[in-house]
Symmetry: C2
DNA sequence: AGCAAAATGAACAAATCGGTTTAATAACTC
DNA sequence: GAGTTATTAAACCGATTTGTTCATTTTGCT
């Protein structure tokens, strides 16, 4: 059929939900905001929750595509390798944080508003986190770091923490602060360098 | 007057809002959940938002008190100093994460649901973050670390990131992962140790 | 016991919620 | 250009939203 209208609906809904929150955004407001009749919306989606799930699916795809692409572009600029790409994640985040429409992580907000772990919206958010972890782990392994799973989870913590800090704390050195921390972690686990800080752990 | 009833109302509301979210919790449900008539609730608070602000104020006080106290108790157990107290933050977080009622950070959820930066609820969440940063900075300074402001912000990022990871990612090594990362950061900024960061290739 | 304050349940109001219906219009296909 | 399909605005539905009113009961104080 014609995917453009439906895709446009999801895309615009993504923006409104991101700015206003899920429960706080009524379907009448949404309809007015995205310039599409409520009848049409409900012609494309059975329920509001179905729409939200699709919104999260789109955001999952868009966000991972954007971030990984940006990591690659920024990281390989000066003949950088996997290590530079990992660090470039925080440069990309910095761009995001300083964007006008930055309003925190949509997935985190989704789990906050739909706290039931079995709720489709909640599960969609978890799925996003899992898929990004897989992709990040692949890059960490390319960087030849010790304990790649641990480092991956730590980098994810730094990323999520930076997002939270940027959302709640007006001041924004969050991305840079996280970058320094990541540098420290990566150096510590670099196999081409000496210095394992302390006794290893089994993971 | 008699503070116990009002305090009890705030305390129970805190639990319900934490589990259900703010917009998703109607006043009728709240009334039923905390076992107090709606009339009485509105006798104590003019609006729902006023109640939420007070809930966040209580959570601010309770959370900071609990975390700092727990950091002190756990950190000074084996004759530990400020450094051990800082690391103990993540042990305390681990306890929190594994608690039955853990449902993420209430302040983050508040900023997510009330995204207007000037909204009293949003401001209350920001205020909490600022106050905890001040207290953590004091402890970091006692630990005699280089660049104490930076390290403080980085520890906060690790904390918030661990909370996010524990909320969205079911699996919970978040607190431990963040602890190792913090250890790495603290060691790197320890004035009593040599700096192992850059090209220290000494075998 | 007696009095005043506090708490209650239930009904009520006005607005909004998610979602449906309908009749008319716009747009694409053959 | 005819016919199908998609889209529209607006009215409508019952349930729920925040918040109020009021008459009754419970409570705390002396």
């Amino acid at each position: 059929m014609r995917p453009s209208k439906r895709e446009e609906l999801i895309e615009k809904s993504l923006f409104v939900f991101d700015q206003n929150g899920f429960h706080a955004t009524g379907m009448d407001l949404l309809s007015a905001e995205i310039g599409m009749s409520k009848t049409s919306i409900y012609n494309h989606f059975r329920t509001k929750e179905d729409l939200i799930v699709e919104v999260l699916r789109l955001q999952d795809e868009q966000f991972r595509n954007w971030l990984l692409r940006r990591m690659y572009d920024l990281g390989t600029a000066n003949h950088g390798g996997p290590r530079e790409q990992l660090l470039a994640m925080f440069d990309a985040l910095d761009e995001w944080f300083n964007h006008d429409n930055f309003n925190g992580c949509l997935f985190l907000k989704a789990t906050g508003e739909y706290s039931d772990h079995e709720h489709p919206i909640h599960r969609q958010a978890i799925e996003h986190a899992e898929m990004f972890e897989i992709q990040l782990l692949a890059l960490v392994k390319k960087a030849s770091l010790r304990l790649p799973e641990l480092v991956t989870r730590q980098l994810l913590i730094l990323k999520d923490g930076a997002v939270s800090a940027a959302q709640v704390g007006h001041i924004n050195s969050a991305a840079k602060d996280a970058r320094y921390a990541a540098q420290c972690l990566i150096d510590t686990h670099d196999t081409s360098k000496r210095k394992p800080v302390q006794t290893s752990f089994a993971f």
